[in-house]
Each structure stands twice: as C-alpha cells, then as structure tokens.
C-alpha cells in the first residue's frame, strides 16, 4: 500500500469528517501528499495541524469550501492542484444527513442534494478534466448503503447518494480508456457523530476500518468497495426485494 500511493498528490474533500480524517491520516502514512478541504474553517485548521504533526510533515495545505456552492466545488479542485503542484487523485467524503424534522424546508432538501450529489459531481468532473490531460490518476467518492435502495425514513439522503453512485458508474464508463480509475465506496454504518448514541444501528464500524478498506481499494484498483465487506451481499439482497416487501421492512 505504501508503494502504490507514495508521492501521489491527493485532494480530500470533507477532511474534517470521521472518515475523512482517518483517510487523510492513512494517505499520509502511505507517503502521499494531501490537500484537505472542508467547510468548517477552524476545525479544518485543527485537523490539518493534527495530521501534519502526526505525519511528521510541515503544515498541510488546506482550503475552505462550501459544497452547496457549485462554483466552490470546482474552485477547490483547482486550489488543490496549485497547492500540491499537480494532482493525482481526488477523494470526496462530503455528506449531509437528511433531517426528517425539516422535510418541509426546501432549502434543506436542496442542500442535501447539493452536498451529497451535485457538488461532488462538479468536483469529480473538474478533477477528471485535469487528470485526463495527464493520462493517469484516480477519483473516489463515498456513497452510502442508503443509496442502494430508498427507504421511507431517509429517502432524500438515499436518493442523493444513489445519484452519486450513478455519477461514478457513468464516469467509470466514460473514462474507461483514459487511464483514470473511478472508485465507488459504499459504507454501512460507521462510527461518527452521525451515528453516536443511536440504538437502532448495528455492525457499526470504526472510521479507521473504512479508511483502510478505501486505501486498499486504491492500491489494488478495486472500483466498487463495500466497507465492511459484508454489506455487498446485503446490497445485493436489498436490490432484489420487490417493493411490496420493502413496504413491510
């Protein structure tokens, strides 16, 4: 793993999230150079300082961006490229959970789709253009099991993640012969502030495990990663269920 990622210049969007931090730490340990991006500026500065100290590296380059603004999503990719002196990969870990209490709020609904689907799509396309020119590189984005099959509880979130999965699949087809690799990551429940204290969850995995699976996928070239691995089979089953049965579940 150290071998494949050493020296690669990678931008991580959503670096202050639990998975983002663990992933950036893993990339640095593997010898990559990392640009961190998130929307919470003070927290981003802390995370950049923390990761830099742990990696024995000087201050890590970082930049603030709001995933709800499409122009910002494109701009941050260019910012990463100039900060790192080039770009070899982009990883998008942004996410916004849907809050059922705000179902009637159009701004919230829009934000969910923007942060989870449209914003990442813009960032991914921008990065794809840059990487195609150099003929090699990778793109990766984190979807969700919620995007595999919509559920009554949180389908706005699920729908936006499903859109992200479709974007990544489509990009994989379009970029098939360009030397770029496009990876889809589909995590199950991951320990994070989102899942803390929730009693309805099961098989909750630590973010370090997700990060490890993602880095392994990058090193080995696996394009669709379920983390932990057993969610692949649950996804298969979920997709096969008729809607009648989904209604009861």
């Amino acid at each position: 793993m150290k071998h494949a990622l050493a020296g690669q210049r990678v931008a991580v969007l959503g670096a202050t999230s639990a998975i983002g931090r663990a992933l950036a730490g893993g990339l640095l340990a593997a010898g990559a150079r990392v640009f961190l991006a998130a929307h919470d500026a003070p927290e981003l500065a802390r995370v950049a300082a923390d990761l830099g100290i742990r990696a024995g590296a000087p201050a890590l380059p970082h930049g603030v961006f709001d995933a709800r603004e499409m122009a910002a999503c494109a701009r941050v990719v260019h910012e990463a490229r100039s900060a790192l002196g080039g770009l070899d990969g982009l990883i998008v870990v942004c996410g916004l959970l849907f809050d059922p209490a705000r179902r009637a709020d159009p701004e919230h609904l829009h934000a969910v789709h923007a942060v989870n689907a449209a914003g990442p799509a813009v960032a991914l396309e921008t990065a794809a253009e840059l990487l195609v020119q150099q003929g090699q590189g990778f793109l990766m984005a984190v979807g969700s099991m919620a995007g595999v099959r919509p559920r009554a509880v949180n389908y706005p979130y699920g729908a936006s993640k499903a859109a992200l999965h479709a974007t990544l699949s489509g990009m994989r087809l379009r970029l098939a012969h360009t030397g770029l690799r496009v990876h889809t990551v589909i995590p199950g429940f991951i320990e994070s502030p989102m899942t803390f204290a929730r009693t309805d969850l099961f098989w909750v995995a630590p973010p370090e495990r997700a990060a490890r699976d993602m880095l392994r996928a990058l090193a080995r070239g696996r394009t669709v990663v379920y983390t932990p691995w057993f969610w692949r089979w649950i996804a298969l089953a979920l997709r096969a269920l008729p809607e009648r049965v989904m209604r009861r579940v």
Partner: protein
C-alpha cells in the same frame, strides 16, 4: 440547530470498576461542539470525563457525563524548543508516538499512557521522578479552560485558577487545550537497575538511596503484599534514559516508526477474573520476583541492570488492555496515600499489617518517593513516601478502609483523590487544608456548581446544582 445533542445511557465506572453510576454520556466530536453541548443539552450539572483511568468516582455521576475523548487533535509541536500544545482528549500514548521519535519526552510520566492530557492535568499526576521533576503542572505552560459561563480562559502558572484547575478534578471547568514543555532524551530506551530487598525498612532505605543518587532520576519499588511487612520480598527499580552508547545495536526511531512505543495491547482472557485470588497472587508475586531478578541478572554482568523500552519501564501494565477486568465484576479499590518520611516505616508496617490481619492483603503494592509540595490547591504530592495498594472488593473492605482513616490522619497521611473511592468528607478536609481556597476560586468560575462528580459530592466539593443528587 436547537436539537439537544445525543447521549448514550450507560453504566460508567472508574478504573476500579466501582462504584457504578447510571450516566448519560455525551461526546462532543470537536472542540467547537463543547460549548453548544453544554448550552443545548437540558442538563443542570455535568461531570467531565477523559479516558476514565481515575480509579474511583472522580469522573462519574448519576447524570450527565461529558466525554471529552473526541477532542483528540494535536495543535502545535515545536520540535526545536520541545513544546507541545494539544486538545485535552489526546492520550499520553499519542503524545509519545509523536514526541519520542523527535527526541522529546514529557518530564512527568504517570503509570499509564492511556490517560488523557486533560485528565492528567485535572489530577496533577506525578511520576517515578517526582524528586527531580515535580508533578505534571510544573511542566504545564498554558491551559485553555471553558468555564460555566461559556467563555474560554487562557490560564498560566501563577493564576489562582491555574492552581485550582491543576489537580482540580474537572471541577473548575472544561479543559479544552493543554500546552506542555518537554525534555530532550538521547534515546527511547531506559536503563533499569533492580535490587532485591527483604522487608519494608530495607525497601525504604534502598528507595531513599536511589532518591539521593542523581544518576538514577526514576525510582519505584514493588513489595509482596501477602507476606509480613518485616519479611516481605521487594524489588527497587531505578531508571534513567539510556545514552546512545548504551543502545548499540538498536534501530534509531524514525518519525514513521510506531515501534518505539509498542501499542498493541492484548485483551485479558475472560477467565482471568475467575482465577484471580490469593493463591494465584501469592504464586504470581514469587514468580514476578524471581523472573525480574533473573532477567536483570542475565542481561548484564555489572549486576542488576538491563535496558528496557520506555513502555516497559514506565507503563508496565499498559500491555494488557482492560487489565482491571481481572478483578471481576466486583472491582477493586486502590488506596494510594502519601506518608511523611518520619512516620513512614511504622505507618507503612502498621497499614500493611492491619490489612493483612483483616483478611484483605493488597494484591499489588507499589511505592515511590515524593518531594516538595504540589502547587495546586488540591495537589497530592508532599514530601514523603507514597504507597499504592490494590485491594479487591471482597465483603468487608469498605469497613476496613473506614477503620484505617483515623490511623492515616494520625500519621499525617494524605490520600490521592485520583484513585480514591471511599474517603470521608472530614478526612479529606484534614488532608487537604487548602480545600477552602479551592472552593473560593471555584465559586467565582462556576457559581452555580455546574461541574461536579460523585467524588465531589462525597467530599463536600459540590455546590449548587452539582450538590443535588439528580
């Protein structure tokens, strides 16, 4: 967002697994979330908690507990000057993983690297080198404290609030960040010298001899608690950081190598708690004594010396994650007290004899020398010998410990609050004469008593909202 933050309803204990409290544990994920948690959760009083390595009830209550382990970011590391600033939830192990490869070590190291910086500050921990290095607060340069009003204060040595917060057991406010000074080290190895002794008098003599020897700054002694104090076998360990010449053949640590501090701790097998009893402990004590002498004798012709890793010397029990589970569901109590030098031999013999006669011999006995007084109002260190006794909670233990209190008070002893689970209010006030000054400072920064704990209630340090049983 005015939604109250989520909390896990669970039973929390200290490291001794007793007493137990039914708590609602909140866990802010970042420093910026602490203030909103305090403001938005509908809780009248809070107990602050780090890694939960305090043995007794300093970090628990029946009510809201704020788990600060999510504040785990390192902020500044000045490699040239040896200064580190980090959030309060960073553990000592994480600090060492970063500083040791760069040639720096905190001057004061407690018995476990699993404690958090905030917890170590709140307990004003001491190490095996208190005579030369003092306690944790002597190397603390700055503390960022969030008070009950929601404002962040920057504390420096010399402030009365600094003296109240160091050793203040989380009762003055939320420690958000800590800045510490480090000492340069020539290698990540410790040269350890071990002497065997028989009897408490010989042990105290050997400890004093090491304490007076500037070549060996670290000193700790172990005693077999199952034998009569006058005849018990003991080991006195002296340590110092090894020079590079003494480390010939070892790989130099690099910043990428975590092996400097082996962190893969093993879990104790579940059956361990069934096996732990007087028979096993007697056998273990004999085996430990013999094995240590053999290892030391075999390693070096100069007699009694060997080179060990930092973790082996400073944090011997950290190898076993959750070693406290060996004491089973009933748990154990650690009595750690400081006894002035003049009283030490007779008081220690009396203490061990009383425990043995009452049928509660200590499973582990560790002793160190402490130097001058700590500077915090509730600081534990003072000049004398400190003894730590691990006592499994078998029926009758609490009564025995209550009966010991007058004897401890009579010899001028002081109990370490970070380990304490049983001390009475009156005894506490006698042992910590600065308690009123502590309360005065605290009432200014937390007038409603929002920060409390089960220990604070027991010792009469809880005021206002924190004094009521919620």
């Amino acid at each position: 967002m005015r939604v109250p933050p989520p909390a896990v309803a669970e039973e929390l204990t200290g490291w001794g697994r007793w007493p137990r409290c039914a708590a609602r544990r909140y866990r802010p994920a970042r420093a910026g979330a602490v203030g909103p948690h305090l403001a938005q959760a509908a809780e009248s009083c809070w107990t602050l908690r780090g890694a939960g390595r305090a043995y007794g009830d300093a970090a628990i209550q029946d009510g809201a507990v704020l788990d600060l382990c999510g504040l785990d970011r390192l902020l500044v590391f000045d490699r040239a000057a040896g200064v580190l600033r980090a959030e309060a939830g960073v553990t000592l192990a994480e600090v060492l993983a970063v500083t040791v490869p760069a040639g720096w070590l905190p001057a004061v190291l407690p018995g476990t690297a699993q404690a958090t910086l905030g917890g170590m500050t709140a307990c004003d921990v001491h190490g095996k080198n208190h005579l030369t290095a003092g306690s944790w607060q002597d190397h603390t340069r700055r503390i960022a404290l969030l008070d009950a009003h929601g404002s962040v204060r920057d504390l420096a040595p010399g402030d009365s609030l600094f003296a109240a917060t160091c050793g203040g057991l989380g009762l003055t406010g939320v420690i958000l960040e800590v800045e510490i000074g480090l000492e340069p080290i020539p290698s990540p190895w410790v040269l350890e010298r071990v002497r065997a002794v028989v009897g408490i008098d010989a042990l105290l003599g050997a400890l004093a001899e090491v304490g007076a020897d500037p070549r060996w700054p670290h000193a700790v002694a172990w005693l077999d608690g199952f034998e009569a104090p006058a005849r018990a076998r003991g080991l006195v360990h002296a340590g110092r950081i090894a020079t590079p010449a003494e480390c010939v053949g070892d790989p130099a640590p690099t910043s990428a190598s975590p092996r400097v501090l082996p962190t893969r701790a093993r879990r104790l097998p579940p059956a361990a708690s069934w096996c732990l009893g007087p028979t096993l402990v007697r056998r273990f004590n004999a085996w430990h004594h013999a094995r240590t002498l053999r290892a030391v004798g075999a390693a070096d012709q100069a007699g009694g010396q060997r080179r060990v890793s930092l973790e082996r010397f400073f944090f011997p029990l950290d190898r076993w994650r959750d070693w406290n589970r060996a004491y089973g569901a009933r748990g154990f109590v650690q009595l750690q007290c400081l006894i002035p030098h003049a009283e030490a031999p007779s008081a220690l013999k009396g203490l061990l004899a009383q425990l043995g006669d009452a049928g509660h011999p200590p499973y582990l006995v560790v002793m160190k020398q402490l130097g001058g007084p700590g500077h915090g109002y509730l600081s534990f260190p003072a000049s004398g010998v400190t003894i730590a006794l691990d006592l499994p909670r078998r029926p009758g233990l609490e009564a025995v410990l209550a009966r010991l209190e007058p004897a401890l008070l009579a010899c001028g002893a002081r109990v370490y609050l970070a380990k304490d689970a049983v001390l009475s209010r009156e005894a506490f006030r006698a042992m910590y004469p600065a308690w009123q000054r502590f309360l005065a400072v605290r009432s200014e920064v937390d007038p409603e008593g929002r920060f409390t704990s089960a220990l604070a209630r027991r010792l009469g340090l809880a005021t206002g909202a924190g004094a009521d049983m919620s």
